[in-house]
Every structure is written in C-alpha cells, then in structure tokens.
Subunit: 345 residues, 2 copies
C-alpha cells in the first residue's frame, strides 16, 4: 500500500491574516497522498488541474471569530477554493474515474474530496477547461444570478459595474449589453479600461484611481442616473452610486473587495437615497442559485460558441505561483479572471 | 366680494433651515382669505381641522439644492403637510361643500387646495377624525405598505422596530404581533418603553439612550438574529441591526430621522452583512402605495372597532402650537402620533 503514495505539493495557510494578505501568509510544502479513496468512503480522489482565485477567499483567512458565511481555513492545512479536477478514484456512485468535475477542492496537486455535494460534473469539454473556474463556474453563475435574478434588468436601463474587468464584472457588462442596456464599468488601470471598451463592448469605462470625485465621475457617465449597480467593491464607490441612483434603482451586492482588508469597513453616508429613490439593495450568495446552473449553461454555452460573449483569463502557471496570484486580487494585479494552472490534464 | 374675506392664521417658513429646526424658523402670522373658490377653478376651499407633524417635513425645509423627493417650502409662505379638512366650497366635481377630506393642505386655518388629486374623501366618521392624520392616513398606509409589502413578513419571524412608539412604529409593531411575530421596539424614554410593552403589546422594548452598545442590546433581545427591521432612524442603529441580521433578513427603509439634521449623515459600516446574510434593504415612499388605501381600510377599520389595534396621539392645541410640535419630533418630545388641532369641526 505504501508504494501507492505520491508526493503532493500543497499551499498551506501559515496563520490567520489581518489587513492585506501577503504571499508569506502561505507556505508551499510537499506532503504525500495515496491515490485511492479509503475503503467504504463515499469520497472522491481527484487530480487538480485549474484553481480559481476569488475575493471571497479572503474571508476564510480571518480568525473564525469574524463573521463569514463560510468557515475559516485551518492554519497549517491547505487552503481550499473552487477548481477543475479529474477524478482518479471514487467511492461515490455519481462519480467515476476519468470524470471531470468543478467545485470546492484543495490548493494541492491531489485532493480527497468528501464534500462531494459541492461538485458539478463537466459534460461540455469543447470549451477551455479553465472556463469552469470562471464563465462556466462560480463567477459565471454569480454574474447570472446577480444580474438577472437580483437586478430584474430591463432593456434600455442604465447599468454600472465596478471591478468590471474581473471574473464576474466582465460577464455582467456583456450580459447587460446583450439585453440592450447602456453599460459603464470602472476598473483600476488604463489597460483594464481599454479592455472594457474594446473587448467587452461596454459603452463607457473609467479608471476609478484617476477620479478625485467618484460621484462627479458617475454623474458624467449617467446624467440621468443609474438604474442598476452591480456592486463588487463597496465603500466610497457605493456612496457615489447612491448619490446617483435613479428612482426604483437596484443594487445587487455581490461583494465589497475594497473593504475586506480594512480593520473597520468605511462608512457609507448616502443611504437615505434608498427611500428618497425607492431603491432596493440586495445581497446574495451564489450557492443559493446553483439549482439554476443547467439553465445558465443553456444560455451561456451558445453565447460562447457564437462569440457573443468573450472571457478574459489571467493564467498563473504552477501551484507555486498560487499565493502571489491570490494576493494579487486585492491590489488588482490580475487582468480578468485569475486562474492557477496546477496541471493540464 | 371683499366682505367675504376672513382672517387666516398661518405658519410661515421664515428661511431655509440647516441643522436642527427651531420654533423660530417659523412665524405665526395672520393673513386673510376669501372662503370661495375662484370662478372657473377646479380647486377646493377647505377649513383645516387637524394637521399632521411628520419627520419627512424636515426635508422640505432645506434649500432646494439638497436632494429630496418633494419640493422645498417657500420662505415667507405657509408650510404644508398632511391634514384633515372640511370642504367649504368646491370647483371640483368630486368634492362638495361639507365633505371631509385628508391629504396635503396648508398650515393655516383655511386653504385653497389646487392639487386635489392628493385628497382622499373621508367616508368613515365613527372613528376620531384626527385618526386620518395617523392610523387612517399617511402614517397608517406607511406602516401597512412598509411592513406587509416591503418586508414580506411570516408568522414567527423576529421583528425589530425603531422609533417604535411613533406614528408609524406603533402600528408596525401591532401588525407584526397580530401576524404572530416576536416584536421588539426601541424608543427614547422610559415612558415610551412602557407604552410599547404595556399598551401596544410588544414582546420587549428598550430605551436606546441607555444603551452604550446598540449591537449588544440587539443581541440580547435577538439571540438568533433579526428577520425584519422596520427602519425609521438610520445611523448607528442601522449598523447595529446589520450586525445582528439573520439569513434572508429584510430591512424596510421608511426613513432615517436621526440623520435629517446632520450636516453629513453618519457612516454605516456593516453593509457587508447584506451579502453575508443574503439580505435585502429596500426603501419606499408611501404615495406609491396609495392605490391600496381601500384595501388597508378594509383591514384596519375592523381592527380599530374590535380593539385589536390601538393608536396613541399626542395632541397640540391650536395652530400657534404647531411650530413647537413639529420641531419636537426631532428631539422625541412627542409621545405617539403628533397632531395639531386647528379646529374641531
């Protein structure tokens, strides 16, 4: 039996994180693993191919005392996140050797996954497999649920997206354009702004770092106000949007990345806009919408194949590059969806 | 014609207000008025009986540049608000002499109302007429729309109401109890807290002025969290509620009276609760729900007659007492719905 063990490179959390996460908050170490599911277990043993870097992971680096919707990582253990994996062995009737799956896995070469209920089987392989960490995975479902379900968008409405070139934002903007909305995005560099306008087809885009008055910037792009805001950043940008909200405006609160590393989140001052404008602000977590995943695939796979939706990924090579890639999300280093390639099949 | 003129006492806005409003921001002066509608006009000429003091009126005292959903009062002119009035003369086919109406009227003894579309005819007079400034008028409809329509309440849910002994709050609490919810209210004095527990049947109540940590206070009354928050105050209380929200919590934003007199509203820091708890925060303005007024009367009139709902008013006698009564809202001087009696029929 000992001969079946192979080496297993892992990204471990060193200790709970306060403030901005650093590469040194994680260690890359090599352990070993048997490539077989224990007898009688309903787990699956997978080889990890692509790992997804997502802002929500920051919350799992906090000490457990800080409220989050999902447990903290364990210092000394591999961190975990969404990924695309290949089943090497299975004790579960729904999965067999050779299956491709996406869902929560460990940041390591091989993982024994016991929480198999979080895994989706991949049936469509005529698209890049890495897409299942992005447009065809959790971020895609996030854009779909947040935009279509939470925002109730209508043709012709004025839509603003922050963190607009990111894994979710780039999709929200394109979905809104396909519906016939006017769409403006904000991002943190000239390159990203170019991407928004020239690749994703946003009507307008701006670099928030170059605006001293975000409220005035939004007023410039939305002289008649904002119907829909897809909220990814929080803080000052949210305040600026509230000041520019249209009657019956809707804000889908997907996340607030600008706030995750602050000791205390910034104060938002313009909430009276909610009653003055009869507006709605609604938060959501994408797992609550996973029962609609097949509907989403029916919508988005044709869009991809017909070239109506495009998806930009930022690929980091090798598990060793994982900590830098993950940490880079919080300084906006990534351009598009940040993926870590562990192995290509 | 000149002989038909009578004297008309009025409450005039002296000048736009910044900060807390003071009695001296208003003048009581006597003008004169003809008790006849001008020939060919579709206006109505009314004798005002009861005037309503409502927090939203503070917004109309601002310089017009400050965003509000309704225009500013005119310095030198009478202020306006909801009231109960008797029609003395009418050029409008829907109203005739002797009709009782409620709606927007002037703070004066007699008013010529041209915006007759805002008037409701009063058909049920076997209740106190002043109730049409409260439980049977705008505040009643506010409680009804905000609680039933915005909060989608269910039996057994945990409900928190701020400014709970006020014109709207006392009704929200009683409606929630009738539905079988657990209801806690906050108010600003021992007398009000007693009223909440002993007269309105709230399960619990507390004096927010005696709590150094509002989040801890709410944790005490809602160990399992808050399903529904009826928001009347804003600021620190909203932050404390967000910290104690339950999954799929709902916040109906009716108003934020604690913020209206601040140069800059307080910052709210805990908005990440919206996505962490998949919660919804929705603002509303009651005129958007006036088409449901007859449904509301069908619900609430039997409640009143059967003694299932009670309503506490704070009656100020005479138009001269109007400025003090209105200003008193913002220091919490009123106990229950603040009404000004101009005349009793």
């Amino acid at each position: 039996m000992a001969s079946e063990e192979v080496s297993n490179k892992q990204v471990l959390l060193r200790d709970y994180v306060t403030g901005f996460p650093k590469e040194s908050d994680m260690d890359v170490k090599t352990s070993s693993i048997k490539l077989k599911v224990p007898d009688g277990s309903k787990a699956v043993l997978v080889k990890n191919l692509y790992l997804s870097c997502d802002p929500y992971m920051r919350g799992r680096m906090n000490r457990p005392i800080i409220a989050s919707y999902i447990g903290s990582f364990q210092p000394g253990s591999p961190i975990a996140g969404y990924g695309v994996s290949k089943v090497l062995d299975s004790g579960h009737p729904d999965f067999k050797k050779g299956d491709l799956v996406w869902g929560i896995t460990g940041w390591e070469e091989y993982s024994l996954i016991t929480a198999t209920e979080s895994l989706f089987k991949i049936h469509n392989t005529d698209v890049p497999l890495s897409y299942y960490t992005g447009i065809l995975g959790m971020p895609g479902m996030t854009a779909y649920a947040g935009f279509y379900e939470i925002c109730s968008p209508k043709k012709g409405e004025y839509v603003f997206v922050s963190a607009a070139s990111g894994a979710v934002g780039q999709l929200v903007g394109q979905f809104a354009k396909l519906l016939g909305c006017y769409v403006v995005g904000s991002a943190g560099s000239k390159d990203k702004v170019d991407l928004l306008k020239n690749k994703f087809g946003f009507d307008e885009a701006f670099n928030y770092k170059e605006e001293s008055d975000l409220g005035a910037a939004l007023k410039r792009y939305f002289p008649e106000g904002i119907d829909i805001y897809f909220e990814n950043v929080g803080g000052k940008m949210l305040d600026a949007v509230l000041q520019n909200l249209r009657v019956h405006g809707r804000i889908a609160v997907c996340g607030m990345i600008s706030q995750y590393n602050l000791e205390r989140p910034e104060g938002v001052h313009s909430l009276s806009a909610l009653f003055l404008k009869q507006a709605r602000m609604e938060g959501f977590l994408v797992p609550s919408f996973y029962h609609k995943y097949s509907n989403y695939l029916e919508l988005v796979l044709p869009y991809i194949k017909e070239g109506k939706v495009t998806y930009v990924e930022d690929i980091a090579e090798g598990l060793e590059s994982g900590p830098a890639a993950l940490v880079g999300l919080f300084t906006g280093r990534n351009v598009g969806k940040q993926v870590v390639v562990v192995a290509r099949e």
